[in-house]
Amino acid sequence: MKEQLQKDFNSSIKNLSLSQKDIEIKKFCLDNFIEKGFPNRKEEDWKFSDLNQIIKNNIGELSFYNDQAFTNKVDTSVFVDGLEHNKIVFINGRIEKIDFEYEKKDQIEIIDQSETINEFKNSNSLSDLNNAFTNKCFKILVKKGYQLIKPLIIYHTTNSKIWSKNINLRLNFELDKDSSLRLIDLFNDTSEKNFLNIFYNFELKENAVLKNYKVDKFENKNVKYSFNNIDQDKNSISETFILSSGSNFSKNEINCNLNGVYASAFVNGVFSLNNDKHHEIRSIINHLTENTKSYQLIKSVLDQSSKAVYQGKIFVNSDAQKTDGYQLSKAILLNKESEFNAKPELEIYADDVKCSHGSASGSLNEDSIFYLMSRGLSYQQSRELLINGFLLDVVEKITDSEIKNLIKNMIGIKE
């Protein structure tokens, strides 16, 4: 893999007009990655999902160079109907379109940031890989007091032109004081056997509100890793919803730093898996100051030989008195081959806190099925009704009603 990486790295920087310093930084990241390789199960954070093995089994040989000289045609049929929205379109890792048609132009700034200094405080090798190979990095700045009128949808599209490729994406967001953003990540893959490595960085200033919905719904054979870093100032709110369903493998990581008082973070997730899929959500909520709050709810429905993993951590600093942290994960195993692993972790250094977590996994409740069947539903219908209700609980947590309905329709959940 080393030669391949070196070769692809050389071809990729050839096409970029970078300063010597930038090239050196990228090279440094590349060397780091070569040294560490893809994370494997020996690393505590990857204990339940050995990415190295997963890439070997699902993809085999990866290549890292993406020729981005040619534009791709934007297929408008993938756009969401019935909801007016702003768009950013990625096709095969290339930004094809940035369109804030519904917004005041002077309130949003799009800054081309191609410097690649690693701002992420996570030690895994994938951020190095991302830094070495991303060629464009934009920062989207929402100015003071501006609240986006329409949601922003980021379309992540891949098509059959690429296979066995590693795609690296990077976006930075800054939400200035009193601003707000609703962001939907919609994955639309018709390609196969690619490895997507996505890094987002959010900076939330005082009173800013971020709502991020990640929807991976369509069946595909890709391997995905997505990392969100969220830094929150005083009084800010972040809400993250993850629908994890389509890809062969997917791992979503949320690292949230509650730096300001009264900041709060919400992470809700749904795993709906079948076949041999293997998905993971890992969240780290760092309560770093007083009076912060976090709430997490993860529910999984696992069929066939699928596997879901939830690793959630609540960290409470010794200064973070009056913290309120809550975490709940529940899983229904429908098939005897399916598997659910959880590691809900609390690390607490302050005494005046209220922190708890719960985790439960098991089969569908036979009594409930019996109750429904005795009222005339078939076995299949009762099962569906119960699963529907089980998942509805999480979807109901979405605070934006427009988007809630959109997501309900997407996953076919009825009220």
Partner: protein
């Protein structure tokens, strides 16, 4: 109230912190094959036992000290320890208690284990382990009548070698982790219990461990076998003198329950915890593992962990037999600079297996407490259930309480439920108690004892009283 205050003052300092001057025989310092041969030789062990030790030592040489645990400690120099230390008078074992060194007896008296009186009055059979050797076992006659074997493991190796050979290392193999392997190579003594088929052990069996000599590691090994349909309750208590340096204690405990058998294992661990500034104290790195080998067997661990500078142990149950049950009840209290990383592993392999984990952690002062546990339900363990509850109580903002559970469910017909909470003693509770005339310390003691009640209830009567007192004492000075 005055009496209570007096009692507290008496107990405030570690009351077991004396050491006894007794002439010792020690193996040369360091760890090598010669030392292992020396130990084996002095114990008059058969050849297979030496082979067992050497095999473990071979494995030990390639292992690295683990470093994933939360409490970090300075590197231990394993060549700077004595691996064998025994009171000189024990070279030719005394036949009865009367022949024991009077100084030894005095030590045990100070510990509250008057062996002679105990033999007569109390209904508990005691095996006392001083440094590395077992010094006295009481109540032998009565137990022998029922066919129960309760003796030092070094004796069992000689007298019941088929049993020991069959089961020793069957739960904790010589190829296990670092500290367990070290123990397999150098263990010196410990208790051996065999309960024959269908026998219900008429009394509590108990062992007291005492580290006396300085610079020694204590490596004892306990093996308990409960044959079909039998029952035994076993208690373990530990103390050590106050010393400035840290001392290593790496024991192995193996339990084997055959069909319909039940083993109840209780520990009140009160090793020297170090002084107020965290100087000295015992490193308690113990491997405890029980195997529910037969159908309908049951193993239950109860532990009250109040001592040690660092406690690092996970009493585990392997639920292999169908319908077997594993239980784990734990109270861990850390104060001053103590650190604990403890919890359990429940490994469900058989059908209809059940496990229950109740863990209560209390940290005060500048201490740090971690619950780390694993619940693993394998794909064959149909219809299994697990219930886990771990609660932590924090006192003061310099301490930490952490929960790291690993939950693996590979069986759709099995259910796992896990809950954990972390909080402090609420002002209302304290106010309520004080309003009714309790002083703040008494109020905290009452609330904490209530918090721990579920676990304390599991202890045998004699221990429960001691444990309850310990809970109170360990938290002295942590309020206000």
């Amino acid at each position: 109230m005055d009496n209570r205050q007096k009692e507290i003052n008496n107990l405030k300092d570690y009351k077991y912190g004396f050491s006894t001057d007794i002439e010792n025989i020690q193996a040369p310092k360091g760890l090598n094959e010669d030392v292992i041969k020396f130990i084996s030789n002095i114990k008059k062990e058969p050849a297979w036992m030496l082979e067992f030790r050497l095999k473990a030592f071979e494995r030990f040489k390639v292992l690295k000290e683990p470093d994933w645990q939360k409490p970090k400690f300075p590197k231990i120099d394993y060549q700077d320890l004595y691996y064998y230390s025994a009171p000189k008078s024990m070279k030719d074992k005394p036949k009865s208690l009367d022949e024991l060194d009077p100084k030894l007896l005095e030590t045990y008296k100070k510990l509250g284990i008057p062996l002679q009186e105990q033999a007569r009055l109390n209904g508990i059979a005691v095996d006392a382990v001083f440094d590395s050797v077992s010094v006295a076992t009481t109540f032998k006659d009565e137990l022998t009548k029922q066919g129960i074997i309760f003796c030092p493991i070094s004796e069992a190796i000689q007298n019941h070698s088929e049993l020991v050979k069959k089961y020793l290392g069957s739960v904790i193999p010589t190829s296990d982790h670092f500290f367990a392997t070290l123990n397999s190579a150098v263990f010196t003594d410990g208790s051996f219990v065999y309960i024959p088929e269908g026998v219900r052990c008429p009394m509590e069996l108990s062992t007291y461990f005492r580290i006396n000599a300085s610079n020694t590691g204590q490596f004892e090994r306990t093996l308990i076998i409960a044959d079909k349909g039998s029952y035994v309750s076993y208690l373990e208590g530990c103390t050590a003198p106050m010393r400035d340096e840290n001392q290593l204690h790496a024991a192995n405990v193996e339990l084997i329950a055959l069909d319909d058998a039940e083993i109840k294992y209780s520990t009140v661990q009160n090793w020297y915890p170090g002084d107020k500034d965290g100087k000295g104290g015992i490193y308690n790195f113990v491997t405890k593992r029980g195997l529910c080998k037969g159908k309908n067997s049951k193993i239950s661990w109860t532990q009250v962990e109040t001592g040690s500078a660092i406690t690092w142990k996970y009493p585990s149950c392997i639920l292999k037999g169908d319908n077997s049950v594993g239980e784990f009840y734990s109270i861990a209290i850390t104060n001053n600079h103590q650190k604990a990383d403890t919890g359990t592993k429940m490994i469900h392999l058989g059908k209809n297996t059940k496990s229950k984990i109740i863990s209560k952690g209390i940290s005060a002062g500048s201490s740090d407490m971690t619950y780390r546990g694993l619940v693993d339900i394998s794909s064959k363990a149909k219809n299994s259930t697990n219930y886990t509850q771990c609660d932590s109580l924090l006192m003061g903002n310099k301490c930490g309480a952490h929960t790291v559970p690993y939950i693996k469910n590979k069986n759709s017909e099995s259910n796992i439920a896990h809950e954990a909470t972390t909080s402090k003693i609420s002002e209302e509770q304290l106010h309520y108690c004080q309003q009714r005339g309790l002083n703040p310390e008494e109020a905290v003691g009452l609330i904490v004892n209530g918090f721990c009640k579920e676990v304390l209830q599991q202890l045998p009567m004699e221990f429960a009283v001691e444990a309850q007192k310990l809970v109170g004492i360990s938290l002295e000075g942590s309020v206000g």
